[in-house]
């Protein structure tokens, strides 16, 4: 049985990239509040596993293999969701990838690297929104949650495609929110800081990060629940007047960032 307060009872959510990491945690937390979940990503084993864990919690779940960079597959994802789940209320555009930009000079970035970076992190969300939003308009409600990154707000050294695409996703959020405000469709964006997703990965990952960080103001990396709970809040009807907003959840980094963490001079006031 779902063990929450049932705030998402009767709702259907698509979560792209829901087989691992933040997307998987989001799926499980939404399921606890009663939502039926559609998990969409490329690796079948991972999305099947999330779907199974959702069913163990209680709600219905469907794993639909999808590459979000392919509009036909995305259209099929929405079509199958409507047909097999009987509705769609929440879309979480969480699929994302950092690839092909590891400390490379700009002149070594290939056309293909650029294309994959922009397609996965920006166009994928566009394809999903385009496929879902007509249905949201027709039914008179809908929630879209885009997962961007702090890299889309500030420039990270050598981060060409990912940060640029995520910045696009942040403003795409605002454009959608403004355009569909009167249709009762809320569109918001989450910018996670450094979140340790290692423990959730089905197979060992090279992305393991230690639990503490001297650079993040709060002194540690985030955990997937930090993002999952925020997505849960934004998916519920309690947040219906909130739209077009960027929610950075990053341990305080973006509020500073002009001096390194730990820089704390003391300067006495001098009256003349």
């Amino acid at each position: 049985m779902a063990t929450g307060n049932g705030t998402l009872q009767g709702k259907v959510a698509i979560i792209t990239g829901g087989g691992t990491g933040l997307g998987k945690m989001t799926a499980l937390l939404m399921a606890k509040e009663g939502a039926d979940i559609v998990v969409a990503a490329r690796r079948v084993g991972a999305i099947e596993q999330t779907a199974k864990e959702v069913r163990d919690i209680g709600p219905r779940a469907l794993a639909i293999p999808t590459d979000v960079t392919d509009p036909a597959q995305v259209n099929n994802l929405v079509k199958r969701t409507l047909a097999e789940m009987g509705g769609l209320d929440i879309l979480v555009n969480n699929a994302g990838i950092v690839r092909g930009q590891e400390r490379r000079p700009l002149w070594e970035v290939t056309d293909e690297d650029w294309r994959i970076g922009i397609d996965t992190n920006l166009s994928g969300a566009f394809y999903c929104c385009r496929a879902a939003i007509k249905h949201f308009v027709d039914q008179g409600h809908g929630k879209i949650i885009n997962v961007a990154s702090g890299n889309g707000v500030r420039g990270a050294r050598g981060d060409f495609m990912y940060g640029t695409a995520k910045a696009g996703l942040i403003n795409f959020t605002r454009v959608l929110a403004t355009t569909f405000a009167q249709e009762n469709i809320q569109v918001n964006c989450i910018a996670p800081g450094f979140i340790n997703v290692f423990n959730l990965q089905p197979e060992p990952s090279t992305r393991e990060r230690p639990g503490t960080s001297p650079f993040i103001p709060v002194g540690r990396f985030g955990v997937p629940e930090d993002i999952g709970h925020l997505a849960l809040f934004l998916a519920s009807d309690a947040s219906n007047y909130i739209t077009g907003v960027l929610f950075a959840n990053d341990g305080g980094g973006l509020a500073g960032g002009i001096a390194p963490t730990g820089y704390a001079p003391v300067i006495a006031m001098e009256e003349d």
């Binding site: 929450g4 307060n5 937390l29 009167q182 955990v223 519920s236 309690a238 509020a255």
Partner: protein, 251 residues
Amino acid sequence: MVAKDFNLGGKIALVAGDSKYWSKYAGAALAEAGADVAITARNTKRLEETAEEVRRQGQKILAISTDTTDAAQVQKMVDQVVTEFGRIDILVNANELLLAKPFLETTEAEWRRVLDTNLNSAFNCCQAVGRQMLKQERGRIINLISCLAERGVENFSAYCAAMGGVLQLTRALNIEWARHGITVNAIGTGWMSETDQTGAPQEELLLKYIPLKRYGHPGEVGSLLVYLASDTTDFLTGQFLYVDGAAMSHL
């Protein structure tokens, strides 16, 4: 109702604001989510009425008449809350004094009062409550301010300056207290009203402009307050989050 994980059962909240508006709505939202709440305001009679309304949520409510622009009164009030409730988990700064007039007509006295109520009150409350939260190594500070902290509007110079001050206080305190388990965030409210504003000529102009074509109701801020106050937001700090029906999104 909010999701179960956002429950505030057993938590102590202090809402420093005006009794007419924010103390009522913020207090009621936190109490509905399970927190015991202390509310303050200057106007004693109205404060009691507001306390009665908040009490209907079934939690313990303490109403303390306080002029939050006075640091000594704030310290006394905070001491009283700690004596009664034992701790303070959540501080909501919601002191608001509106003023709209051309800059050159704004008197020095008005400028000072607007900064005193909107900005200096937050300073006083953050200091007195912050000391307590630092002892606890845990706390949530939520500054309930306006989107005018970040945007300019004609005739709002003093108000914008004060709100911008609270926003920057939010960011600076976040950095200073991040290692001590205290999160500091600000909520920016858009155009809010308890009543339907259709008809008034200036308001018609505004309503046409905002994406949702309607004002927000102060009650719509409650769910974000509760979420930010909950145990699920340890990593979410230093942010300015709008409840504004997309007003800040559009060109």
